[in-house]
């Protein structure tokens, strides 16, 4: 019977219109540290708060091979909202920092998500 279970696809509009499933994560980054947060379902919104003091930046990227130009900087004490679909987010920082993250997840399993690459991600 398991083969007859159908899941919504990546472009199923209703999956993004319905309220999402919450996903929370709090962590820390060591000096020059990297942290990857993987989501069990495709996201529709991610909110990231840099809990460090001003001047301690967290850089956000969506691929391990993102260039310096493909990283979004969040200053200490600031938060940023990303309305994007993805199955993981990668954080790094030159200084020791703390972060807290909230995501709203769709009902689309992360295996449906393609590997993000190209302009604005890795080039």
């Amino acid at each position: 019977m398991a083969n007859n279970i159908y899941n919504p696809g990546l472009y199923h509009v209703g999956a993004y219109q319905a309220s999402g499933r919450p996903f929370g994560a709090t962590g820390s980054l060591a000096i020059n540290g990297t942290s990857s947060v993987s989501f069990p379902f495709v996201t529709k919104q991610i909110v990231l708060l840099n809990r460090a003091a001003a001047g301690s930046f967290i850089y956000v990227q969506f691929h391990e091979d993102s260039t310096t130009a493909n990283k979004f900087a969040i200053n200490g004490g600031e938060q940023q909202t990303f309305n994007v679909k993805c199955d993981k987010i990668i954080l790094n920082s030159p200084l020791a920092t703390n972060f807290t993250l909230y995501a709203s997840l769709t009902a689309i399993t992360s295996s449906y998500m393609y590997n993000l690459t190209g302009s604005g991600v890795t080039e």
């Binding site: 990546l10 472009y11 199923h12 509009v13 999956a15 993004y16 219109q17 000096i31 020059n32 495709v42 996201t43 529709k44 919104q45 001003a54 001047g55 301690s56 930046f57 850089y59 956000v60 990227q61 969506f62 993102s66 310096t68 130009a69 493909n70 990283k71 979004f72 900087a73 200053n75 600031e78 940023q80 909202t81 990303f82 309305n83 994007v84 679909k85 993805c86 030159p94 200084l95 769709t106 993000l116 190209g118 302009s119 604005g120 991600v121």
Partner: protein, 374 residues
């Protein structure tokens, strides 16, 4: 399959805007009085532009160096030999913050000449004290010292003159040594360092306005310099010729290789070059500063949807959004295939992220008309 049978979403396909978009992230610097066009591979749904640099005046960030026990970490000035001759005096001034310091710098140079193991004219920390130290003609050390401060910013100044070695904290003389001593150029003239090369630099310091002065500052001049803070047009900054002057102009968060070299704003040639470092050490530009009214790289960032170069109405009629404070941002629910950013009054560091639809950029028309370029 031929492309003519390949169907893609159209520009007005509502569903394409209702699903979460795929991310597009970029960060860069727009140089003063220039414009940067960013083209998206697909039509956007939302765009966020954030100004990372602070506007309004000179960058007042600091250089943050922190090394573990036994660490070697130093910037060296690439052209700094033979700065002293017999009979010359020299002064060193620097704003320092040791807040949060966990490793006591026991015998390491902070700023001055010499490779560290034989500091010749330098400010160094030893046993919880800050010393202004030099050597006499026989190579023996002469120093004046005072307890260091481990919280907040302070202004350290060391002066060497004939028969006098003196140290000041926050414009106030803390200790001096008068002895039958004549400055000896061969011992003073050596490479300038921030941090230490041969001796461990185990400290955790933030540096701002590290200046080596060609000559001996008077007590009044040291006090005037302390009071002048970051007012670089104040006469106190012209008391004597400045041989070297390290004041970071980069944006907070920059790390090597972005700050592999730091500009020298003094009269000696060459730049500061990161000579030694190892993993785990902190080498970065900090937004912390000893001064209030933190400035930035000076620019305001303008966001618009047509080029200012070919369409003067964009600028003349102000069809743009302005970001002029650090971390200020704008979120735009806009469909577009391109966006323009221009900087006025200074360079602007920015970060941008967008969520893109699955609609190819080729389907998007170019924005024009009222509110854009008319």
């Amino acid at each position: 399959m031929s492309d003519k049978f390949k169907y893609t979403a159209g520009l007005n396909n509502v569903g394409s805007y209702q699903v979460a978009g795929s991310p597009y992230v970029t960060a860069s610097t727009v140089s003063q009085d220039t414009e940067q066009e960013i083209q998206f591979p697909r039509v956007t749904n939302n765009i966020t532009v954030k100004l990372d640099s602070a506007a309004g005046g000179e960058v007042l960030n600091s250089l943050y160096l922190s090394a573990s026990t036994g660490g070697i970490l130093d910037y060296i000035l690439s052209d700094s030999n033979s700065v002293g001759t017999d009979g010359d005096g020299m002064s060193l001034t620097v704003w320092l913050s040791a807040s949060g310091q966990t490793n006591a710098l026991n015998n390491g140079m902070i700023f001055g000449t010499g490779p560290g193991s034989s500091a010749k004219c330098s400010l160094r920390e030893k046993n919880g004290k800050i010393q202004m130290i030099t050597q006499n003609g026989g190579g023996a050390s002469i120093f004046a010292q005072t307890p260091t401060m481990t919280s907040g910013w302070f202004h350290a100044a060391g002066v060497i003159a004939n028969n006098r070695v003196q140290i000041y904290i926050n414009g106030e003389s803390k200790a001096h040594k008068t002895t039958a001593y004549t400055t000896v150029g061969v011992n003073m003239g050596d490479s300038f360092y921030i941090g230490a090369s041969l001796a461990p630099f185990e400290g955790e310091y933030k540096f701002r306005d590290a200046i080596a002065w060609s000559g001996s500052l008077s007590t009044a001049q040291v006090f005037a310099l302390y009071q002048a803070s970051a007012s670089y047009t104040d006469p106190a900054f012209n008391a004597l010729p400045k041989l070297v002057w390290m004041k970071p102009t980069g944006s907070a968060g920059e790390i090597p290789p972005q700050i592999q070299t730091l500009a020298n704003h003094g009269t000696l040639g060459g730049d500061w070059f990161l000579q030694n470092s190892s993993s785990g050490e902190i080498i970065t530009i900090s937004s912390e500063s000893p001064f209030t009214g933190q400035g930035g790289s000076g620019g305001e960032l303008r966001v618009h949807y047509r080029s200012t170069g070919s369409l003067p109405n964009v600028a003349n009629r102000k069809h743009y959004w302005t970001l002029d404070a650090q971390d200020e941002e704008i979120n735009m629910n806009i469909k577009t295939k391109e966006i323009y950013l221009s900087a006025v009054g200074g360079n602007c560091d920015f970060s941008l992220h967008a969520d893109m639809t699955n609609i190819p950029a080729a389907r998007m028309y170019q924005h024009t008309g009222s509110g854009v370029d008319e």
